[in-house]
Symmetry: C4
Subunit: 250 residues, 4 copies
């Protein structure tokens, strides 16, 4: 296997596609959105990207078949723009891997002619969030106006700690290539998987790209989490939480 | 020394051999099985594999002679299939090393014409186990039926955390090469070296490959551990365990 | 992106320039000085240096534009010597990266003909410091006399733990190239960002290189920290500090 | 700088020299012995070995001159065998570095025709040691008899955890090259710098190689530590130890 190894599954014709990234991160916001879009819309696996910088690990699917750690890029056909959606269970495990893997993502994006990128994620607030604002950062200032129209907030020098991982590098390295890259970060506590923050980010993405997917699955997931949160709140006054609740905490 | 360095000891003629991996892991189940087979059956060292990705370490043998950290591949002649059995005291210590070392294992396997692989290990249950079920995962769904006949259980999306280390990568990378790879995981508490889980895994392996080795040594080891466990149980009501017991805990 | 990637912004003509390093470290002393000089004097960005050995991260500026992790080298025109000032938010994240990045800094320095280097930093005392002595270390003993005239103290075998990171390597690797490299370390508690220690280091630098920048910004920052310290002292007798204070602690 | 970079200081003519390693480790036993021999006998610096796998660090000498992290090889002229003695303040900081650096040490050893190696170190017992036995491990069983005559003890499969770091690899990689390598490990508590264990190891080395150095400096250091130990024992019944004592604990 090469350091970064792309296994192609399809080479679809795409019309000026937009690249959308949603790997695991704060509140799994980006991952929830990207997986939701791939599941709800008309999508096709384009390639699996393996790398020595992922954990040495396979996941086991529902047929007990092992799948080598991978990021996946899917072509998604929507009523709006064509999408290339990046999903996966892992970030690179080391600095060098982060840079090289993101360059590989950008290579695929450019191979299909994508000139616009959205990196999706969460921004931790440290407390339970009622209103899920979406904070933005961009590779070029000219992108801000249109994003603000969709409700994205731009706050000077926020997030204060910068943006780490693939989302950050897609902006940093994508911007160096002259691509228009924006990061959409849903405000979330940072403690729990947060489908509501995901819905807020999805709404911005839909507005920007002119598509609309069914949100029932995210709503169901949000109801589930709501219940967990209310039980956690009850328990703050009672004994410590049982193991059964912890499985929801990502 | 090269990044991965193979020191050949023999080049036996093997007939359609099966590659069996048993490096250290949960409950040392895989390691117990692979070492037991090498010791009990008619076996010959084929090669030692050294790598910069192993710990910078020698072990000291009973003659006080130092042996450089290595994985070993043994040819094992059984009444059933010919085996290539991988044993060793270490896993690679970093991600890149895991991938490269597993590729090296697969290269040796293919060099001898092996097309079938078994990765042996344990799956932790978190509690003391009475019935040692063997859980399976495969690189190709077609392998499941035959394994189920030998009593292997397939559970959707289990183990939930995937399979890490050499066992996982043998499936993931072996599958990519078109080899048939199965992982056999004995249920074990995860807290103790577990010869009983090893026996359960060995039984499946013997059934699949048509051989039968004396199990007395594993039984003795199991009796020893039984005693340790019963003492640990007693001690739960008494004072904390003495150091003499801890040497059994791997 | 290359392992180390230099994006040039300008190629100024400099007259026998001096290279000054101030990356993050103990008390952020070096960083405070180098950024202060760049801001107060007539300066021009020469290049941004990116590397896979920096964190996989962008910072977000006041316009919400993402900037890829970088070190920056600025040409600074003073009434004394011409300066090349290295600033940045990060040190390399691994050993190999530290060595390679420092070699890259030295390459740029030599490209502009710099033969003299100052690495700026802090030395932790473990207690609040009233008098901010500046401790020195050099690549060549002949440099000491002139530095002592500017008030630098040389103490046998201090700092006891050596000098780590870019500052240390600029001396070690710079000395190997035959450059004159000195490290100026302001005594500081090690617990807080320390603008007073920065002022002490700046004073030495100004004396050595014959320039003089307005210090108001550092004074303001010092007053701010003074207040924090006095509040911390009060709180030692009262309840634990609120979050609002912690933002000052670097 | 190359990944491993050798700066030559001298190229002495040596007669069938023996290579002796004493880098930092358990109780600093090996380091104490190697530095003591270099200081007490007629020695000459042969080379400094720098590497990206050492910490990014300089030490500061008594003249405040910075010295890049290095291992040093000294030629030592004794009334017995000629020695090449390896000293230094660091081990490599990562697995790959350990292997590559040890290969570099062996290259230098072989360049001078050394065919015999001694790796010096300590073996931790976990309790204060009165009798400082010296435990041995060898690359070839034939070496044991002569070492036993000098009082070295060989214990089956000890140390149980193997030998890690440069000492271990000198045996493992040296043995692969056909060199005779022995590891001499002085028993020591593992908690303190142990000049007495160093004396025990030195005595074996002197006996093997036919030389004899003044031991006063080690005796003084041992007396110093004796005092520390007795104070520590007193304190076990009194209040916790002051900082002044901790500087002795390596």
């Amino acid at each position: 296997m090469d350091e970064i190894d792309i296994a192609w599954a399809a080479e679809p014709e795409l019309d000026d596609p937009v690249f959308v990234e949603g790997l695991p991160g704060v509140g799994h916001v980006g991952k929830l959105v990207s997986e939701h879009v791939v599941e709800q819309a008309d999508s096709e696996l384009v390639c699996r990207i393996h790398t020595e910088h992922f954990p040495p690990q396979v996941t086991v699917d529902d047929d007990s078949v092992a799948e080598l750690a991978a990021a996946e890029i899917h072509a998604v056909d929507t009523e709006g723009r064509d999408l290339l959606v990046l999903t996966g269970d892992h970030q690179a495990q080391d600095n060098v891997g982060h840079y090289r893997l993101t360059e590989a993502f950008l290579d695929v994006a450019e191979q299909f002619g994508a000139e616009e990128l959205y990196a999706l994620g969460g921004v931790p607030t440290g407390e339970l969030v009622e209103e899920h604002d979406v904070i933005g950062a961009v590779s070029d200032e000219s992108q801000k106006e249109r994003l603000e129209e969709e409700g994205v907030e731009f706050r000077s020098e926020e997030p204060a700690g910068g943006i780490v991982g693939s989302s950050g590098l897609l902006l940093g390295l994508g911007g160096r290539r002259g691509l228009e890259a924006a990061c959409l970060m849903g405000e979330t506590s940072g403690y729990l998987v947060d489908p509501k923050a995901a819905k807020a980010v999805l709404a911005v993405l839909e507005g920007m790209l002119g598509f609309d997917v069914d949100e029932e699955a995210l709503d169901d997931r949000a109801d589930e989490m709501e219940e967990v949160v209310s039980r956690l709140r009850e328990m703050e006054e009672g004994p410590s939480p049982g193991d059964e609740d912890l499985r929801y905490i990502g």
